[in-house]
Symmetry: C2
Amino acid sequence: MSFVQQLIEQIQDKKSVVCLGLDPRLDTEGQIPKYLIEENRNPNETILEFNKALIDHTYDLIPIVKPNIAFYERYDAIDALKKTIKYAEQKGVLTLLDSKRNDIGSTCEAYAYANFKVYKAQACTVNGYFGIDGIKPFLDYTNKGIFVLVKTSNPSSQEFQDLFSIKKSEIANKETELQIDSVRLERNYIHMARLIQEWSKELNKFQGYHNLGIVVGATFSHELKRIREIARNSIILLPGYGAQGATAKDIQFAFDNKGLGGIVNSSRGIMFAYNKSKKYSPDQFPEAAREEIKKMNFEINKFISL
Amino acid sequence: MSFVQQLIEQIQDKKSVVCLGLDPRLDTEGQIPKYLIEENRNPNETILEFNKALIDHTYDLIPIVKPNIAFYERYDAIDALKKTIKYAEQKGVLTLLDSKRNDIGSTCEAYAYANFKVYKAQACTVNGYFGIDGIKPFLDYTNKGIFVLVKTSNPSSQEFQDLFSIKKSEIANKETELQIDSVRLERNYIHMARLIQEWSKELNKFQGYHNLGIVVGATFSHELKRIREIARNSIILLPGYGAQGATAKDIQFAFDNKGLGGIVNSSRGIMFAYNKSKKYSPDQFPEAAREEIKKMNFEINKFISL
């Protein structure tokens, strides 16, 4: 069964578009609780225990989890990543590996294999700077999901992604500069969205969506609205909810009238929710996470009709 | 000592700008020899033995090696990667980890830590789509080298990198479209080169170069010439020599009159050189690699004066 079909069925079953980011941090106060670090022998064990407890207490409320591989690389804990992905799947939760890989040819094939066959994720994120050469090897796994960066949630995303540019097809010369009169320009991220729409033309759809998704920072609601008009059949992964400041109102434009079209990620906001309220002791981090997800679902479902 | 100083000293000592790409392939005919795969118990051992033999036979001819992490992830052989990096360093060869990581905030910090402290590379490649937020955490390691993608060697690099765009500073509105009269446009990769030049303004230089390098496909000599004019103080990593078709003549514009300014990568062309000539049996892959590097140095040094 294709990723997009599984995702939509999960969303409809659980009435939830919340994606739980699993980005373990071991060395920052108020993140993975100290007692867990002291109880275990190494980061692999600590992270796995932490992730499993989170999944155990939230699997019925979320369609998907999103581990960011950077943290597993940083703690040399790829084993914990693999076991987390396996565990989530056993609990009936989909997995989206946030790896933002990008390369070409057999190197890109190696990355796709690593994401889907070594780490065994059901979907992953990709950076589209290389063009289709960096996307095709991922698309060759026809049942897997791919989310391409379009407009990222960070402030300096404007430096490059917001440059106004002109469609390639209108120009075909070797020059690096151009002087033109009267032309319509669009921002780079709009062109990236157009490329994704083009690359996905032949893909199978389920309830109007295919496996080639996109990433748009939840912090940019104006941009999101325009991107949705272009990449009409892509599921939009929306990071930046909570800790980065985006609200339920900001992300409503991603969704159609059946409440489909997006998944909303929160990582720190859920994982370390125990830390935001005196109500919870550190060992109640899974209960705090569950409450936080319920709150997110309630807030988001006011704006979308699932 | 900073990466760029070590690199330049190595280049001048060895009179070589050749970068040996260490991209192990185990499942393709004519790549890592069969007898090595049969002799060893697992990919970690096979890859490490292969890489060590290559380094043993070439370390006096090359300033730097470039493992692409995709292949080590694909074969679940991160251990071989770490040991290869350590071994190269012991033999007096620098290491550039080709990982093209890209993210923001604490996630980006985690990637920088993984590249420099877990895998222990002396330099790495980065994708600049996020803007400075995705670069700064790497630059915070002030002695390490960073190479940002500008114009990649693959055919579809034109889809996005070659779009004509306009500098952000000239426009500051919320619109996603723009109608303007008479304006100077430059391609996206030119703007990326300008951003890199801007981000590197405060960096220390050695013989005119700093630690923030760039990546330009050796297959694009026309573009290379223009990029060199903009990013004047960046070492240029030039992939695409050999297997991808670029020649010594194509890459000359990267270099100044002391022969400095670039490193020229070849991976398959050197690693699997044994396969191109009847002269060598599979177990002579290290001798074939050495010959190939000598040939590359001879060809390249006709065009640059070291």
